[in-house]
Symmetry: C2
Subunit: 109 residues, 2 copies
């Protein structure tokens, strides 16, 4: 699936959150939540463009950016993103609780 010649990584959500904190935390604290949310939204817009063109290199970069900024927001608000997503999504569908979701298509998971 990956076009890189790097070996497959094994990156936990917690590791990613820690790496982002170490790399950017000093700047993120200065900027604060609101300013960081602006950057996050800028990247979301760029992701939308990449989703429209389906340019693979752009998609790779923009997905990475959106995830990194989401993790940054979690750092700034003391949210453990791995715990949050594990508890909501790794014990079955949040709504129907099934391992393969059986909710109606119109329902919000």
């Amino acid at each position: 699936m990956s076009e890189s010649n790097q070996p497959a990584s094994s990156l936990t959500v917690a590791d990613l959150q820690q790496r982002i904190q170490e790399m950017f935390g000093h700047k993120d604290q200065q900027r604060g939540v609101d300013g960081t949310f602006m950057w996050f939204m800028e990247e979301v817009g760029e992701l939308a463009a990449a989703l429209r063109t389906r340019d693979r290199e752009e998609l790779l970069g923009e997905f990475a950016d959106v995830l990194a900024w989401l993790v940054t927001l979690a750092n700034l608000t003391d949210i453990d993103l791995e715990e949050a997503v594990y508890h909501k999504y790794c014990v079955g569908c949040p709504r129907c609780r099934k391992p393969v979701c059986e909710c109606q298509m119109s329902a919000k998971p």
Copy 2:
């Protein structure tokens, strides 16, 4: 950091992506990228509200939701999210390449 009484999870980004695929992939394929992006944006809006109130339970849920929908978009576009974020963010700052970013505050990472 976590208030849950569950043991700490060890969830790779790749595992999360696979779990979301198994749980929701059949519905996601039906809905497609554009409809999925709409759900993603709805959750981003809810995250913005939670960031405003700083209600902890809301933050946990909305961070989980935004991440899950981002992963869903990656599934629909055949993007390996772990590879994408690893290669861009786990080998130093994408711009200055330093392990602790030295870019100017105004620069876009």
